[in-house]
């Protein structure tokens, strides 16, 4: 019983982070058709901003806020500098551009910050754990669950209630028509990147708080997972990204908890093999509708 409770807590907290990352990817994909490889570096950047804030002696909540904002602003800058020249290019070119940007940022972090991980002193308030029944839930995990759920709800409200939110959802179906209806492409793209960056910032802060350190390659692993989440969810499907995030976490934590010792080294590979197996059954993702091409 406790094992199951622990399992659920782990899934919900990791899945929440994956969902935030995947949503950020999905929002940008909707408007540009770009799968942003450098999304993980936005996360890393937010982590460094958090560290900088703490080292500068800023109150913790302010450092967190600043870190999230850095993620959002950096994403907008990334769009205007790196992605604008290839805005109308094919998906392969867009993906390659973002891959190059990611590699470049990693080298910049390695040289201008440090190649090694930096410890992030999280206030002791967040380091304990609370007992639920006989199961121990760390406070950071609890925070991570609450924050990711709140973010998802906020985003749901944004998509349902605001004009930009509607526009981004519509863009996932047909960006061209949306432009013909008078939506300014540049503004919508900027908003999409801002949201994407803020989500990466939140995910980055949660990730760093759980691990207690930040390093130049930190964003790579979670963002690779988020890529796969977006694909399982169905490229361009926003609700698919959220559900996919929890699904991947469920698979990953299950393997982590119950995989026989001998197979433990293959855990990541097995996770992705399962994902690929799902994809081979559902080539358009679990929740992706086949976007009928206009002919």
């Amino acid at each position: 019983m406790d094992a199951i409770l622990t399992y659920i807590v782990n899934v919900v907290s990791l899945g929440g982070t994956y969902a935030l990352l995947a949503l950020g990817l999905a929002v940008v994909f909707s408007v540009l058709g770009l799968i942003n490889f450098a999304h993980g570096e936005l996360m890393t950047l937010a982590g460094y901003a958090l560290l900088a804030g703490i080292l500068l002696g800023v109150p913790f909540w302010a450092a967190v806020l600043a870190a999230v904002l850095v993620g959002g602003v950096a994403a907008v800058i990334m769009e205007t500098t790196a992605f604008r020249p290839v805005r109308n290019a094919n998906p392969a070119t867009l993906l390659m551009t973002s891959f190059a940007v990611a590699m470049l940022l990693q080298v910049i972090f390695q040289n201008f910050i440090s190649a090694r991980g930096q410890a992030v002193p999280v206030p002791s308030l967040f380091t304990g754990s609370i007992a639920i029944g006989n199961a121990q839930v760390s406070i950071i995990q609890a925070i991570s669950i609450v924050v990711s759920l709140l973010s998802l709800i906020a985003l749901k409200v944004f998509f349902d209630r605001s004009r930009s939110g509607w526009a981004i959802r519509a863009a996932a179906d047909d960006f061209e028509t949306l432009r013909l209806m008078g939506f300014r492409a540049s503004r919508l793209i900027a908003i999409a990147f801002l949201i994407s960056g803020l989500l990466a910032g939140i995910a980055g802060v949660l990730w760093v708080m759980q691990r207690g350190s930040v390093d130049p390659l930190m964003g790579l692993k979670p963002v690779l997972a988020a890529f796969v989440v977006v694909v399982i969810g169905g490229l361009g499907s926003i609700s698919g990204a959220v559900l996919g995030g929890y699904l991947l976490a469920a698979i990953e934590i299950a393997l982590q908890t119950w995989l026989p010792e001998g197979l433990a080294p293959y855990r990541d590979s097995l996770t992705f093999v399962l994902v690929i197996a799902v994809l081979s059954l559902f080539p358009n993702g679990l929740f992706g509708k086949r976007v009928a091409e206009k002919v």
């Binding site: 392969a92 690779l224 490229l235 590979s269 994809l279 002919v295």
Partner: protein, 609 residues
């Protein structure tokens, strides 16, 4: 010699083989440090060829190939390592493998085989995915990396795997690279290669030209996994000691940069890219070492990629091989004598029904686009299909060709039920079509656009070129043969699209507004060409157009659609004289003034409607 595809391919292979032999021989006389650089670039060139075969031809970026390189490197290493060394370096290796000590060539083949097996398994999934394929290749890389790290008894995990004999001399590297270039160049102009390139430009149009996109993607993936395996087999003997991180993102970045800088679309681009980037990387490495700048080569590669994509997105050499570029200005040799006489002939009896489309129903989220529409097409006859914009004409063609799935339909082609047949097979069985908004393979030559269909019809590339040229001659565009389809004037692009449909040797040709955008003189010319086609091939035709003059003179019978329903059907003049038909057009004009432009082409015809 350069006038045929085979001639060009062989000339190109000959040239590159000579260049690579010269590079290898000169390299072998150089001092060891410089020689090592040449050897490394030849090994990397092999990997670039693997990527060129798949990504260059399919347009799907692959991150997975470096995983194949790793699989082959470890396998070759285990097979080639002396048993005595294995006892210390790999003490946990299962018993039978402990004693294995294969000759180098056999070990390399073993490595290639391992990569190929992984390639076949992963390819079965990758080929099924559309937009998601690139990300799935990334998953392949992560899976293989995880296996390399996890399989400690075989690989020493993330520790350094050592003890592989350093058998990769510059000659081994040279031979491997030459073989890779030959395979890549042959693949590019093979049936599958041409089909794959068509799918890169427009997958949907390719399937209506008879291309099995998934199959072509799978074969491209497997062939490229073999070549990636060859790189791995050679790389193991070059490095002697390596770890899983040698087969991860840095190598991926290096190989992709080489491919993109030179131009992913051509073999020549890959070769040039491999050498150029090797030089740049070496220079950066020296600068980086001198200044203790961590990862300068990676940063340099990333910047090179960005600059290339911003300023020269097709790479230094672009999509075409140099020899193709040389042929660009020249018109192809015109086909012998009477081109029309060479058109494929379907021996259907005139008037016999070849295509039955019965009771087609299609809804688009509540909007009824087709409401129990039935249209038949007879051999050697032209069935006209007219109606206001949005009346369901194009949707009908899309449903018949399988591009759109109707809710209900009874479809037979020459008596055979095709309602559940995939798009590409319907095309091969005899449905040729054009699109209302043209969908040519814009980066392929005009000739290749048509050759694609001839290959679908079962010809070898050589026969296909001959036939394609004859068909282009019938449509009067053969002289454009070596130009890129995307750069032709609009009217000529329409003719190329018709040629592509005709090259399938179709039973039925479905032409969706072939005269749109043509001036009256061009329309008349097109009409004359269509009559030639009709008379010689015996094909049945479904013609959609707004040009009433064209419709009246071309069609044997006419169906009018309005709001997804058949409004009238019969002999053209009688149908056009019906008041409901005129009303449908009038109503359309009143409610949608912007559309008057479109009916403008009919000019004075409007009054008699």
């Amino acid at each position: 010699m350069m006038s045929t595809r085979r001639g060009r391919t062989l000339a190109s292979i000959g040239l590159w083989v000579i260049i690579l032999i010269v590079v290898t021989l000169i390299g072998s006389t150089l001092p060891s440090a410089t020689q090592l650089l040449v050897t490394t670039s030849l090994v990397l060139l092999t990997g670039v060829m693997a990527l060129q075969i798949f990504s260059g031809n399919s347009g799907i970026l692959s991150f997975g190939h470096v995983g194949f390189v790793g699989v082959a490197a470890y396998t070759t290493g285990i097979l080639a390592m002396p048993a005595a060394v294995k006892r210390t370096s790999l003490p946990l290796l299962p018993e039978p493998l402990q004693e294995v000590e294969l000759p180098i060539v056999a070990a390399m083949l073993g490595g290639i085989l391992a990569a190929t097996i992984v390639g076949v398994i992963s390819g079965l999934v990758i080929a099924r995915l559309g937009d998601a394929a690139s990300i799935a290749t990334l998953a392949v890389l992560i899976i293989l990396h995880g296996v390399m790290v996890g399989a400690e008894p075989f690989t020493r995990g993330s520790q350094t795997f050592y003890g592989v004999p350093r058998y990769t001399s510059i000659f081994v590297a040279g031979i491997t690279a030459i073989l890779a270039v030959i395979v890549a160049r042959l693949f590019r102009d093979s049936r599958i290669g041409i089909h794959l390139r068509a799918s890169r430009d427009d997958a949907l149009a390719a399937s209506t030209a008879g291309v099995r996109v998934q199959y072509a993607t799978l074969i491209g993936w497997i062939v490229s996994s073999v070549i990636a395996g060859a790189m791995g087999a050679a790389y193991a003997g070059l490095l002697g000691a390596f770890s899983p991180k040698d087969f991860y993102f840095t190598l991926t970045l290096t190989l992709l940069t080489m491919l993109i800088v030179g131009g992913s679309g051509s073999v020549a681009g890959g070769i040039v890219g491999a050498f150029v980037v090797t030089l740049v990387v070496e220079a950066l490495r020296r600068v980086g070492d001198a200044n203790e700048f961590f990862g300068l080569t990676n940063a340099g590669l990333a910047i090179i990629i960005l600059l290339t994509l911003y300023f020269r997105p097709r790479g230094l050499l672009g999509f075409r091989e140099p020899e193709e570029f040389l042929a660009y200005r020249k018109s192809p040799t015109p086909p012998d004598a009477d081109a029309a006489g060479a058109l494929p002939v379907r021996n259907e009896n005139p008037g016999q029904t070849v295509l039955c489309g019965h009771n087609l129903v299609k809804n688009f989220s509540g909007l009824v686009a087709l409401n129990h529409v039935s249209v038949d097409v007879e051999a050697q006859h032209v069935m006209g299909l007219i109606g206001p914009n949005g009346s369901g004409k194009s949707t009908f063609v899309n449903c018949v060709t399988g591009v759109t799935k109707p809710e209900e339909a009874r479809l037979t082609l020459a008596g055979e039920d095709i309602a559940r047949t995939p798009v590409w097979r319907r095309a091969r069985k005899g449905l040729g079509r054009t699109f209302q908004t043209m969908r040519l393979f814009r980066e392929l030559t005009v000739l290749d656009n048509v050759t694609v269909s001839c290959i679908s019809a079962g010809m070898s590339p050589h026969e296909a070129d001959q036939r394609a040229l004859q068909i282009l001659a019938v449509l009067g565009v053969a002289h454009h043969g070596n130009r890129l389809a995307g750069e032709l004037p609009y009217g000529d692009q329409r003719r190329v699209e018709i040629s592509r449909a005709l090259a399938l040797n179709p039973r039925v040709l479905l032409l969706d507004e072939p005269a749109a955008g043509m001036n009256p003189a061009e329309s008349r010319e097109l009409l004359r060409q269509m009559e030639t086609i009709l008379a010689t091939t015996g094909v049945g035709m479904l013609l959609i157009d707004h040009d009433v003059a064209l419709i009246r003179s071309a069609c044997d019978s006419l169906t009018v659609l309005d709001y997804g329903k058949v409004l009238a059907h019969g002999e053209p003049q009688a149908v056009l004289d019906q008041p409901e038909v005129a009303a449908a057009y009038l109503g359309w004009r009143e409610s949608d003034p912007s559309a008057t432009q479109e009916i403008g082409a009919t000019g004075t015809e409007r009054k008699s409607l």
